[in-house]
Amino acid sequence: MQRRSFIKGFGVVLAASAVVPVTMMAEEAKKAPVQSPNKMNIDSAIKAITGGKALVPSSKIEFKAPEIAENGAVVPVKITVESPMTKDDYVKAIHILAKKNGNVRCTDIFLTPANGTAHFATRIKLGETQDILVIAQMSDGTFLSATQNVKVTIGGCG
């Protein structure tokens, strides 16, 4: 049957997005732990991204994550931000934050209008049940957000 159709287009978009994933985290990891942004609490991490501007919860961000993680070590997340992606109106960056992780900043993805669409999928590691926050930095200087709770459980019920 239509075994392939359900992921149709997804792989293509991912390949076309010139994403810059996790390199920043690797850099940060080398620094001394006390000063590292990895150790920031969620409020300072948000402030470091927004410079103190308000987050605007927005339905323009389509954020998909499982309600219950099958494996906390690799939780699949998909983000699409509605945007024309033109020179005057595009998504500059997508940030994924896990509020209760030791390192709250999971991923920072930087985009240009050449990406065509603001779509990104990855897997993040979650230490425990928590809210995942997505921040989209728009070219007009605003910051949109979306959030979802993901449950990480040892399971065992049958």
Binding site: M1, G11, E70, P76, K151, G156, G158
Partner: protein, 581 residues
């Protein structure tokens, strides 16, 4: 109630029914079970959660079924008197015996054992005769291949042979997956029925199956002159509820977005007349699915083992669930006109083995399947003084017996037994057979692990399990009951916030110390992964541990007093909107 409905003795108003006097439901006969207010041409037969019980058994429904306050007393969270009241059951009737725990032992002596595939087959044959072979479709919501010794010892094959005999045509799965990926595929090949699932997808980037559906997501069947689209929904939380090793590389989940796509595809491209979701989501989760996905005509649910005498309707979707352990067949007649469902009629038919005669062919098949294992399975291990049962939200006697056995052999301070909803019931004074022990714990990962955990970790694990059972949002529930504890007692505020429900934990009568290391045994879950100092020399299958203990005891006498104190509910079967009965 379902029998009374078919007899036209009941007036239904606002989802609750009032039985009208006139006939004593205790005198129910075969004709009453067969009787049905037939509609249209098409009949769907539905079975769920057989758990490999091919022989008749006793099965007592829960005496405690507690949930978050917003869900209490709603279908899926009803038991005992609250259940009888909601569905208008006559006290001491056959339905009261099948659907509730009330007066269980007295009624068991009166009505006898429940289920059994040979009895089920007689009913199915009769319905096929009444309706015509070409108009009937038999669907199975899964948890069929696992649950008894004969299933375990044949790697599920005995049960597939039974499904072929019964004439099952489509199925989905959950415990099926605990035979491992390769075996699931082998058994699916042996089976006449189609195994479908829209929510099982490859997630190993190095496998050919990556991001591919593992099974066909749906099937289109033509019966009664109509095209029926059936979409499969296997248990969404298989990889967290059961060991990951069995399904490594397969991802589950609810996947409601693709479910909606398949509904639309069946309707728009394939022009089906009726859309059925064959599901193992659980009754409560499927009510949420019906709210979020549009265009489903019927959800035939499973997993949570609820007998639901009446369907419920949410967002124009009709949801039914047919109990467990082969106790019932759901019959759904559908009247289809101009490509749409015009009307339907449903009856949950109890398989009363003393009323519905056994099909001789089925008895022969069951005997043949059991024959190689009869010597082991029929061994009498001992006797029980009181009733041994499984279902309850917190505590049950058969689970307590298993915990007693584990602590006696392993010399651990605390024992965890999983809150599965399958098992068996042994009447007071009855023999305990080895078959009964497998009925309680016959799984493909039977090992009892003994390891160390500190007090703080034990408390947080308990909170974690409680949140899987009592979350106010059905989508975050996994559909089991609380783990059963040996050596430990606690208080719980079910309506409390996640992580804040449990208090007053005592181990051996003394307050749990967060820093202290405790020796813990567990089986059937993942708790050993959270512990340290695993004692590998002690690892043994739980059914062997339990067998040896019962043999040593000769007569077991298990207390029916719960080791959990519920702080916010007054009774085990509260009614809607209340914290009491």
């Amino acid at each position: 109630m379902q029998i009374a409905t078919a007899l036209g003795l009941v007036t239904v108003a606002g989802g609750c029914a009032q039985a009208v006097p006139g006939k004593n439901p205790a005198n129910v006969g075969l004709k009453d079970l067969y009787d049905f207010n037939a509609k249209g041409k098409l009949t769907l037969l539905h079975m769920c959660d057989l758990h490999a019980h091919i022989k008749p058994l006793y099965w007592r429904e829960p005496s405690t079924l507690i949930s978050a306050p917003n869900l209490v007393g709603t279908p899926g969270f009803l038991c005992g008197e609250a259940f009888s009241k909601h569905y208008g059951l006559e006290p001491s009737s056959l339905d009261a015996y099948f659907d509730t725990h009330t007066d269980f032992e007295a009624l068991a002596n009166k009505f006898g054992k429940m289920g059994g595939v040979a009895h089920m087959k007689t009913l199915v044959n009769e319905i096929r005769r009444q309706r015509g072979e070409e108009n009937v479709l038999f669907l199975d919501s899964g948890d069929t291949w696992q649950g008894t010794g004969v299933a375990l010892k044949t790697g599920g094959e005995a049960i597939v042979k039974v499904q072929n005999y019964l004439g099952i045509e489509v199925m989905v799965g959950h415990w099926e997956f605990t035979y491992g990926k390769e075996r699931v595929k082998e058994l699916a090949e042996m089976m006449d029925a189609k195994f479908i699932s829209q929510n099982v997808v490859g997630n190993d980037p190095f496998a050919d199956e990556y991001e591919e559906l593992i099974f066909e997501p749906y099937t289109i069947e033509e019966r009664g002159g109509a095209k029926i689209g059936i979409i499969g929904q296997s248990f969404p939380f298989t990889s967290t509820a059961n060991p990951k090793e069995f399904t490594e590389g397969w991802s589950f989940g609810l996947r409601l977005d693709t479910l909606q796509e398949y509904v639309d595809e069946l309707r728009d491209e394939h022009k089906v007349d009726c859309i059925v979701v064959l599901s193992h989501d659980g009754f409560s989760v499927d009510q949420e699915v019906a709210r979020q996905v549009n265009g489903i005509d019927f959800i035939l649910s499973g997993h949570t083992h609820d007998p639901s005498p009446q369907p419920i309707v949410i967002n124009d979707t009709v949801i039914m669930i047919a109990g467990s352990h082969g106790k019932y067949i759901g019959r759904l007649d559908i009247d289809i006109e101009k490509g749409k469902v015009k009307d339907y009629e449903y009856k949950l038919i109890p398989i009363a083995s003393n009323i519905i005669p056994a099909d001789p062919e089925g008895e022969k098949l069951v005997n043949e399947l059991y024959a190689p294992f009869d010597a082991e399975l029929n061994e009498v291990l001992g006797k029980t003084k009181g009733l041994l049962y499984k279902r309850d939200t917190f505590h049950s006697t058969f689970d307590q017996l298993i915990n007693d056995a584990i602590m006696d052999e392993m010399k651990s301070e605390i024992s965890f037994t999983p809150g599965y909803r399958w098992g068996t019931t042994v009447l007071s004074g009855g023999d305990i057979l080895m078959d009964n022990v497998y009925e309680m714990c016959g799984i493909t990962y039977p090992n009892v692990y003994t390891f160390e955990l500190n007090g703080a970790k034990i408390a947080s694990l308990l909170e974690d399990i409680a949140d899987n059972v009592f979350n106010a949002n059905p989508l975050y529930q996994q559909g089991g009951d609380m783990s059963r504890l040996g050596g430990m007692t606690y208080d719980i505020k079910v309506s409390g916030k996640a992580g804040k429900r449990i208090s007053n934990i005592l181990v051996g009568g003394k307050a749990l110390e967060p820093e202290r290391i405790y020796s813990v045994s567990s089986w059937g879950g993942n708790l050993q992964n959270a512990g340290s100092n695993l004692q590998t020399e002690k690892i043994r299958p739980v059914y062997d541990v339990t067998r040896d203990y019962i043999k040593r005891q000769k007569v077991v006498n298990v207390s029916n007093e719960s080791n959990v104190r519920i702080l916010d509910y007054d009774c085990g079967c509260p009614v809607k909107g209340k914290m009491s009965c």
